[in-house]
């Protein structure tokens, strides 16, 4: 098991800096997920770790060794690509054994290793097929098998599930989690899907605009987001944001804020004590932390009802540009244009300052 340490990693393309000083410590055996919107630099960061992109400045340490100038094949890494990147002219067995062949292994060693890996991933019957004769899920398993066959110190995954349908994505996610459990190898995974990040990761790195927004466990990012971006990115449906103004100062256990629709709301005073009277803040509240109530704190009119079977999303017009989204378990008896109100769980409110940083930190 191997650790990966990044120290002030930067990447510049011509005059444009796409990664602006990434510091990260990925421990041995950890499943670390880089997550963020398209263009945030997560794939570039992964490729720099792999050696497929040069590092403009900073240090990359793999297994205690400075790896900046080490050739990709010598870093002890294996990568699974979004498009699988299987060699179309080779069979499954040849794809999986290609790296071993280049490493100078004997045919017998290659054959044995390929058989072993095929057994782990249930690919035994597919070894003589070419990639075009495989389904998407099979191709993905072959891509993973090719990575495993090389017995790497670190696995790199670049959005490996994004080309699969929803059902297959869920199944492969579980397989990946089992694989990590089985192999115990350090894994670095890139995705734009926060559900994948939350379900797979030991540690999540949220990136935006080439800057690390927050690093932490899934629950940490969920319950204590460092800023508005992380709060809005993690969680589905997305967190509700309402502009507000602090009315009372943060000395008591609860503070009062005035929402943009002129409704007052009591929220738990941030532990940092940094909330000031009259300060412009943004209230963040997750849909699952709002409850329907006849005489709740925030009234509104139902605009949209999305019934998913086990849960229902209600979009409530509260007189602001964006509706409030409420997540209710089951199938409540509500109808369009119905006037209802919601209550807010005071201890689940997040307050963000004018710089979008969380008041809780």
């Amino acid at each position: 098991m191997v650790s990966v340490v990044l120290k002030d990693i930067r990447k510049t393309y011509e005059q444009v800096e796409v990664l602006k000083g990434v510091d990260l410590d990925i421990r041995e055996g950890e499943f670390c997920v880089f997550v963020g919107p398209s263009g945030c630099g997560k794939s570039t960061l992964l490729r720099m770790i792999a050696g497929l992109e040069s590092i403009s400045s900073g240090e990359l340490w793999i297994d205690g060794q400075l790896a900046n100038d080490i050739a990709p094949a010598k870093r002890g890494l294996a990568m699974v690509f979004q498009s699988y990147a299987l060699y179309p002219h080779m069979t499954v067995a040849e794809n999986m054994g290609f790296g071993l062949r280049l490493a100078g292994k004997t045919k017998a060693e290659i054959a044995q290793r390929v058989r072993d890996v095929a057994t782990i991933l249930q690919l035994e019957t597919l070894l003589d097929r070419k990639p075009k004769a495989l389904s998407g899920g099979q191709r993905q398993r072959v891509a993973i098998g090719r990575a495993i066959a090389r017995d790497p110190k670190v696995f790199l995954f670049d959005e490996p599930l994004s080309n699969l349908d929803a059902e297959l994505r869920v199944r492969m996610r579980i397989e990946l989690a089992r694989l990590h459990e089985q192999l115990g190898t350090t894994m670095i995974y890139v995705t734009h899907d926060q559900v994948e990040a939350m379900t797979l990761a030991d540690k999540i790195v949220v990136l935006d605009g080439g800057i690390v927004q927050q690093v932490g466990s899934p629950l940490e990012l969920y319950t204590r987001p460092a800023n508005r971006f992380v709060a809005g990115f993690i969680g589905s449906p997305k967190m509700n944001f309402i502009e507000a103004e602090a009315i009372t100062q943060g000395n008591d256990a609860c503070s009062t804020i005035l929402l943009a629709n002129k409704r007052q709301l009591k929220v738990r005073t941030p532990a940092s004590g940094s909330l000031k009277q009259g300060e412009a803040v943004t209230l963040g509240i997750r849909p699952e932390h709002l409850t329907l109530s006849e005489h709740g704190a925030i009234p509104g009119e139902i605009e949209v009802v999305e019934r998913l079977g086990s849960e229902t999303y209600i979009h409530l017009n509260i007189g602001l540009p964006l509706p409030l989204v409420i997540k209710v378990y089951g199938n409540p008896e509500v109808r369009l244009h119905q006037a209802i109100a919601v209550d807010v769980m005071e201890d689940q409110c997040h307050l963000f300052d004018s710089n979008e940083h969380s008041h809780s930190r």
Partner: protein, 298 residues
């Protein structure tokens, strides 16, 4: 009762199926098919007629021009092959064209790969240099090429002709192969690098096999062009023993002035010239069509 009625030994199509087939063919489609059929028949017919005529004696050719030969005779082929030296010309053409195409691919394929995949200063300039090379009219090069080859003692030699053929074919070949290599996914290169491939190994093990449709395309196109090439060989080759088939055919036509119009032998000569390219096309056409459409389908 089954919709498909089959009489023993005969494939059967139910009348409803037949009606559906003709019903589905629109008038526009029918006209298109008709025009294509006529065009194909027109092309095939004359080629087939020349081949058939080459198996006839001259008197039968003029007496019964549209009939199949009563006896299929290869005398014309034997005469052309031996008396008119087509055997020598054929082997010259085979050597010149095959070597030219093989060496051309050896030179142009790696060049196209580097130009399509690498990023270095001057890359676009070099690529444009090749493209501009395609625009130079070959007749402008007759005199300078002759002078240059004479200077290096390669005039009137097959080696000199091969060198010229390769040089003049490089621009087009590099241009076509560059676009083929550009259409191959970059992730395959990344995967190969991570698997431990060096640059040349990426090319040899991964990219070149995938570019084979493109390579087959340029090989066939160059083969056909060089096989039928006449002007350059006329300028650069003087000795009869170094003639290629195109020059040999020209010589045969000239000799007909003195031999009383041996048309059947001429058709035999044309058949000898044409058949290899047809056979090669039959073998490589599928790859070529695959190469033409590659990149259009992900």
């Amino acid at each position: 009762m089954s919709h498909l009625q089959q009489t023993p030994g005969q494939p059967g199509i139910s009348s409803s199926k037949k009606a559906r087939w003709t019903g589905n063919l629109s008038v526009a489609q029918a006209i298109s098919y008709l025009l294509l059929a006529v065009s194909s028949l027109f092309t095939v017919f004359f080629f087939a007629w020349v081949v058939i005529a080459s198996f006839k004696k001259n008197r039968d050719l003029f007496k019964f021009p549209w009939r199949l030969p009563d006896t299929w005779s290869i005398d014309n082929f034997v005469k052309v092959w031996t008396t008119n030296q087509f055997g020598v010309y054929f082997s010259n053409s085979i050597v010149v064209v095959c070597l030219s195409v093989i060496l051309l691919l050896i030179v142009a394929t790696p060049a196209a790969y580097v130009l399509s995949r690498s990023r270095f200063r001057g890359r676009e300039g070099i690529t444009n240099f090749f493209i501009v090379g395609m625009g130079i009219p070959v007749p402008l090069l007759f005199v300078p090429l002759f002078v240059t080859l004479s200077y290096i003692h390669l005039a009137d030699t097959l080696t000199g002709l091969i060198v010229v053929y390769i040089a003049l074919s490089i621009p087009f070949t590099v241009y076509v192969l560059t676009s083929f290599f550009s259409s191959l996914p970059h992730e395959l290169e990344d995967a190969a690098i991570l698997d431990g491939c060096r640059d040349w190994q990426v090319f040899w093990h991964v990219m070149l096999p995938l570019a084979m449709p493109g390579v087959a395309t340029v090989a066939l196109l160059n083969f056909v062009w060089l096989w039928n090439e006449y002007q350059l060989s006329l300028v650069l080759i003087n000795s009869p023993e170094n003639r290629t088939l195109s020059l040999g055919l020209y010589a045969l036509i000239n000799s007909m002035q003195y031999s009383g119009g041996d048309w059947a032998s001429l058709f035999a000569g044309v058949t000898i010239v044409t058949v290899p390219t047809v056979i090669l096309y039959l073998f490589l056409s599928e790859r070529m069509i695959g190469g033409m459409t590659m990149g259009g389908v992900k």
